[in-house]
């Protein structure tokens, strides 16, 4: 791996190797937990922790894992980390864990994790692997937060639960404004995600199909 210098490993997932907009992985959870900013951020942190540490652990173990049960071992490590994260959330940020409900458990099936383990951690030393995992988690989280920002602002008129659109604008109080109920539904998240991919590709010409 010649492109293995630290900075590049860290920056790729934010641009030309973004797991959501370029590799189109982890879309399911990006639709489900982006109605409000707070759960989106907790989800982003959770995924970052899991990708970072699963990459680190698998990279430490990479020379001992029997090839025939490679995927199973990876899954076991991911599952263990996800259950740990879920238990910690339940114990310390109960309200948020209630909002995320099953989606924390579903991090296990997030393709970003298996993808990074197979593509990176199995062939690289622990430190770069850890950096790669953290960066991919953050690249995923970045998209999540952008989508959640748009959806919470337009769908509920709030950010982090605080009212942003003035109350007096609302039709109920004699104004002209209504929250866009469509934004709250998952299909609209998919459309917003599509727009982000569009913007990303028009800025970064390398990503365009010839």
């Amino acid at each position: 791996m010649s492109s293995n210098n630290g900075l590049k490993v860290f920056t790729t997932p934010f641009n030309s190797g973004n797991p959501v907009t370029v590799l189109v992985l982890g879309v399911c959870s990006a639709l489900a937990v982006t109605v409000k900013l707070q759960p989106a951020i907790v989800m982003a942190i959770s995924v970052t922790v899991v990708t970072g540490f699963s990459n680190l652990i698998i990279s430490f173990m990479r020379n001992t894992i029997p090839n025939s049960i490679r995927i199973i071992v990876q899954l076991l490590v991911i599952a263990a980390l996800v259950i740990l994260v879920n238990e910690v959330l339940k114990a310390y940020v109960y309200d948020v864990s209630k909002q995320l409900s099953v989606y924390v458990g579903l991090i296990i099936t997030n393709c970003i994790l298996m993808g990074r383990l197979e593509a990176f951690a199995l062939g690289n030393k622990p430190v770069p692997s850890f950096v790669d995992g953290i960066a991919n988690g953050m690249g995923y989280g970045m998209i999540l937060i952008i989508v959640a920002f748009i959806r919470e602002l337009l769908g509920s008129g709030t950010l982090f639960g605080m009212q942003i659109i003035p109350e007096s604008w609302y039709a109920a109080n004699g104004g002209f404004y209504l929250n866009n109920g469509l934004i709250i539904l998952p299909p609209m998240a998919l459309i917003i995600l599509g727009c982000i991919i569009w913007v990303h590709r028009s800025i970064n010409k390398d990503l365009q199909d010839k």
Partner: protein
């Protein structure tokens, strides 16, 4: 180099693979057990605080829960102050039974045969004022919905409600857990004549004492709430009638006393 290579264990051999998988599974299992045991008390406490908060919110207490730094101890204090040990379980005819109301879950009771069902009742004392909080459990569109309904001491006027849900659609059915929806129930009266004690109707129509506005786009969830109120209040009917007749006897007694004087 060649020597050390020969001494290495064959990591693709069957024995190695089996031992490797056994070891890693045991290690992971032990780790998760330790984590789960260590975090259980904190998780349990979170669930209890949530329940206490819901009960208090139904009677309109604990209003500052969102603004205090230490929410948990604030809720504990408020609960001690207004409810404390003033809770009991009742059977379907309204008689008090032995049991811990706080640990009784309506969801678990509803699957038991009728004779063995115990229903929790929480009594909120605010000075002279008595309010009764009853538990609710029903079905929404995608999953269970639940909550509490609080009555004034006449057990006829609603003091407040709290609803929560597992997976109703955000922005539509999920609105049942928001304040504007729940506020509507305050001061409504139970309709004894009808099968539906409180009717949740299409928004925009005229409202009376027994009706509240439903949620546009959340019709099935709204109906679920309406049905939940009907089903659960039917179960509590024994208790409600009993308290009502006790109230009447009390007022007759005081009237008699007043006349004697």
């Amino acid at each position: 180099m060649e020597n050390s290579d020969k001494k290495k264990i064959n990591i693709n051999g069957n024995t190695y693979t089996v031992i490797y998988s056994v070891v890693i599974v045991v290690v992971v299992a032990v780790l998760l057990t330790i984590a789960s045991t260590a975090l259980k008390p904190a998780q349990q406490r979170n669930r209890e605080i949530e329940k206490k908060e819901n009960i208090l919110k139904a009677v309109g207490k604990a209003a500052d829960a969102g603004n205090v730094n230490d929410k948990a101890s604030y809720i504990e204090q408020e609960y001690e102050k207004y409810i404390g040990n003033n809770s009991y379980v009742i059977d379907l005819s309204g008689n008090k039974k032995d049991g811990d109301a706080f640990k009784t879950e309506l969801k678990a009771e509803l699957v038991k045969p009728e004779a063995e069902r115990f229903l929790p009742v929480f009594v909120c004392k605010d000075g002279e004022q008595l309010r009764y909080v009853l538990q609710l459990h029903g079905k929404g569109l995608w999953g269970p919905i639940w909550g509490y309904i609080a009555f004034e001491s006449d057990l006829h006027t609603v003091a407040g409600v709290v609803f929560d849900h597992e997976g109703e659609t955000p922005g539509l059915g999920a609105e049942i857990s928001t304040e504007p929806f729940q506020r509507q129930f305050e001061k409504k009266q139970i309709d004894n004549e009808s099968n539906l004690p409180i009717i949740i109707q299409k928004p925009g129509g005229a409202l009376n004492n027994h009706t509240v506005d439903g949620i546009s786009g959340g019709t099935i969830t709204s109906r679920g709430v309406q049905q939940m109120l009907a089903d659960n209040l039917k179960l509590y009917k024994g208790f409600i009638d009993k308290i009502k007749s006790e109230n009447e006897n009390n007022s007759i007694e005081t009237n008699n006393k007043n006349q004697e004087q």
